[in-house]
Symmetry: C2
Subunit: 694 residues, 2 copies
Amino acid sequence: MAGTAERMAKNQKQVAISEFFEKNKHFLGFDSLTRSLITAVKEAVDNSLDACEEARILPEIRVQINKIDDKKNIIELKTEDNGPGIPKRSIEKVFGQLLFGSRFHAIRQSRGQQGIGITGVVMYSQLTTGRKTHVRSKIATETSAATVDIGLDTRKNKATKTNEGRELWERPDGTLKEHGLEITCRMKAKYQRGRQSVYQYLRMTSIVNPHADITFVDPDGEVHHWPRVTERLPRKVESIKPHPHGIHLGTLQRMCTESTDSRMTSFLYKNFSGVSSRAAKQLLEAAGVLEKAKPKSMKPDQIRALLEAFQGERLLNDKAVKLLNPPTNCLSPIEELLIKKGLSKTIDSRFVTTMTRSPTVSQGNPYQVEVGLIFGDGMAADKPVEVLRFANRVPLMYQQGGCLLTKAIESVDWRQYGMDQAGGRGVPKGPAAILVHLASTNVQFTSEAKEALAENGEVMDEVRKAMLEMGRGLRKHLEKKKKMVKVQEKFELVNDIIPAIAEKSAAILQRPVPDLAGSITRIMGAVIAESTTTWNKETKMVDIAIKLFNYTSRARAYTLLASWPESAGASMENNTTGGRKEATGVWAWKLETLDPGETYTITYALNGLEKGDWTETDVFYRGSQEVIGASKMDEKLLEEIRRQEAREQGEEEESGEEEVSLEDTEENDAPPEIADDQPKPSGQQTLMGFGSDA
Amino acid sequence: MAGTAERMAKNQKQVAISEFFEKNKHFLGFDSLTRSLITAVKEAVDNSLDACEEARILPEIRVQINKIDDKKNIIELKTEDNGPGIPKRSIEKVFGQLLFGSRFHAIRQSRGQQGIGITGVVMYSQLTTGRKTHVRSKIATETSAATVDIGLDTRKNKATKTNEGRELWERPDGTLKEHGLEITCRMKAKYQRGRQSVYQYLRMTSIVNPHADITFVDPDGEVHHWPRVTERLPRKVESIKPHPHGIHLGTLQRMCTESTDSRMTSFLYKNFSGVSSRAAKQLLEAAGVLEKAKPKSMKPDQIRALLEAFQGERLLNDKAVKLLNPPTNCLSPIEELLIKKGLSKTIDSRFVTTMTRSPTVSQGNPYQVEVGLIFGDGMAADKPVEVLRFANRVPLMYQQGGCLLTKAIESVDWRQYGMDQAGGRGVPKGPAAILVHLASTNVQFTSEAKEALAENGEVMDEVRKAMLEMGRGLRKHLEKKKKMVKVQEKFELVNDIIPAIAEKSAAILQRPVPDLAGSITRIMGAVIAESTTTWNKETKMVDIAIKLFNYTSRARAYTLLASWPESAGASMENNTTGGRKEATGVWAWKLETLDPGETYTITYALNGLEKGDWTETDVFYRGSQEVIGASKMDEKLLEEIRRQEAREQGEEEESGEEEVSLEDTEENDAPPEIADDQPKPSGQQTLMGFGSDA
């Protein structure tokens, strides 16, 4: 026994972070040969998108994969972007040093977070093929591009570099590249097609980054191109300061210790978001700390008291000190119309609905949940629905089962929304796809590979709420569809059989066939809208016809409205009925009075779209009598959308830090003059699929 | 644009590993308040078990949880062991420095691997409560224990320490503690009961560490005690050298560069397992490298050629150079009898079967899969089966869905083995629990929290194979049960109705009732064994009765055998029929010839068990005629078990590194004299549930 402890202690030593991740490369997503390649592409592309977004450049990204040795699974990956480039002296640290980066301490939405990703690619390449990674970087202020081969001394977490040089970077057309980055590496990896593939990753990336132009040259030399569908860069995200609600005691202690502020009031006001100078004074009073106290000299008990004041556990005049929510301009949601556009493009189907929840805060971190659902033909009805997961605009391809987003979907009883689900738990079955996007300043993944989100009760609740709301939309759609089918069956029956009977009876009785319009109307007793949305091969446009039948015994007056993909760049052609724009993507036609038995048809075409882009038109109505086949316009929602548009217009000019109190947005934005007994929408919605079915 | 790249580069900086894990504490398992507590307990207990195992001490572990502030969720955790202790100067590094440890570079099975765990606990405690962790450590060579409070400077990944001191460590009974470690920390956490709880974690730990004595004092002061059930420490695991099959090019390059060997032959022989000096020469010849080449001076191309020789891609005389498999004494499986004991103890049920696969190698890392299945009453029939996952004797409590072990279970079509499973995929439903244990020198988890295993095709295959084999055992059991039920129904019918008919007929005919024994025997035409295993409240023993009925028309001679929990410490009492031991846990009775219509009953009792420990006795027979209700003894398997026992006996004395060629073990260990047309077992099995049903 004697000496065992010493002997054991002798074997202990410090391990470098690079040794750690070399041994545990699967933490970084390098576990199988196919996944390793996707991980490498992902790290390079995420960095390019982040850099372009920060530099406000519309990204052009090119990914090329070559098979070097098919038998030994050696692959060359080359990625190129038009980003700002990396200054020569920073290259070795960015590529050859783990945990080196700019985003670790910044509180804002970004794809990269840790400064691990691309160095992991360099490390994996070196480990599996013994080769350094070739980097070419051109920044705008220099004439030539810097080139260098980067490796990694894993014992020290330091870059090793060879072949440093400079060269002019010519584009294929002979012009010089202004700025950009190119990475070439060789690794043991396997290229494969299918649901988990580089192709699929890039396709998904293009959906949630519609401002990016992405080209992919696969190992067979086939070129896949996803052009950008909008010239608008994602909203610029600003870094924010930490919010008192999300601070741990240990962090606050450290902030105090490291502070050079002379007074606690300025320390609080300057280092936290949501703390006005008045709130700073109130917090200190609640905590029993003097305003002029020096942060550096704060005692542990004082810090604990201050934290309790932060968390509303220490009161001032029996009330918790009120803090503003953190600003949400650190977030950049995908936005619904783009989600819808993306979803419809991915899967040609019949019903798409999306839901963007208002931004909210978990432990001081602002975050926002967006969901989309597509339902209809062309998808397998007897298989689990496809789940498309995204975090900060990055597609998550692996570990679906272990992801919070999946768990939120599984926790919903989809049976009540008309979907098949064994036992009311688990991923539902049916011809549908569900998209979930979490935008957050601090996405908590289960591991460095960033493929699945870790447990978090608050985020889970938000995603669930969005799902439930979306589910209600789906149920309405299915009910509407069912009703429409019934009415149509009845209509066909009435229209086919009654005239036939009349004709036969007339023939037998040798009398003239009576006029049946009145009878049919009496039997149907409804106003019916029928819309068709079809791709016209010849004109390369989408033809739309909306027919309104008045099968009631009274004259009826309506305004019809329809959704159309205006923000996706479509234009409206041959619209003979005229009408006017009600909001972006919503057109309205005020129709003349329709007499009993009368029919009116609106026709128009949509130009600038591709086949499959737009397959169903949502029709809404304003009027007292229900229209079967259309939804009653939800005026409040329409107002909300208009207001949102106006806000976004405004935001593009303005860009200062803006403290948005979330409660205000939710509670007070509704126009008070419109009475409405509908449940108040808790987030922002588009019109599609969300009319108030009577 | 100009200057953007520079501006962006300026924000980049190096992040300390401790800052990284402080921000990403959920990677370490600190994601929710309940899980954080389990993680903390787990890290402390795993360390204690590892230290005791290495120091060859039978562990005594005590875990105590106190609620300090229920409203604010502040909990104090105190763990104490009787391990070797940690020398004073090492304490600060072990507890206050991430990635400091002894097991990172060692290739052998251990619970801890990275040197992160316990420092993570110190860090989480400091972050959430601002408090240091109190450590008391006593090593055998010193009189007093060292005490110190340890914190963590996360900016530097360095310990901070206060209150260093020395004290005599008295046990409650006043005696001095010889050696051990005590950790006391305060953290934000929540104690809860249920399936994911500290209680459950410790209970599972005690199952797979039957040599440990574990005491848990819960926040209500209730004391839970799991005494050790064996005095035998797990097999001592030896560190091995890396095997050429698992080496990456980058690693081989570094090994060469760092080598001080003067010749490649000695470099290969000394630094790799599985490489004899002859194989070393052959490898070099295949690679075209001189034997006297200096490792330090090897060129990249030579290293690549050598790696290809390692992997059988460079041939010598048209053949790959043959390498021995790595030794498997670096592994310490739980062993089946203990798994069975554990499973039976956990869930009171009727059918338990286990399966230990032979050790095998993935990418140079030896590993071994063990599985167990329990099936029967007392468990919910309409719910998914309970999955109990373990890696290197550590229970895995979270992320079940994302774990390779779960995926292996889900990939089996359990319907063919008589279980309910929607679509033949997913976790099956039924009154069952499945246990899987992976023992490996390099368990690849999905994250630092070590709760789920990452994808690995080879390990997946091994687990699947074990499942399939076990499934066949289950199917046999269910078929046997069905058959037995049928025979019994028939028997009852025959025994009830025929005498009744005979009696009635005799009465009507006024004749005497005929002797029916012969008729019944002719109708049944079978030998039947019936066994009962019941807990005797008064004697506190398990009473067992085995009845053998000869319902055939010929005299029959049998040897009956029965399983009993000998290795769990039971003793056999009141065994009136005598008999003899055939192997550990297998008793045999040679019975006298049984005439047609005759019955013989064996009775005995088992002492030293608790209620629920032993609920079913497997009965086997030797003899030509099938016995319904018993299994034909699988002599080969019995021989295998005896051999295994003998080997283990031998191993306890011996302890040098031993190169076991796995093929040899599998192919040549079977005794050639016994003809057998059964499928050869590919792993080691126990008898229970695996008789060769005719």
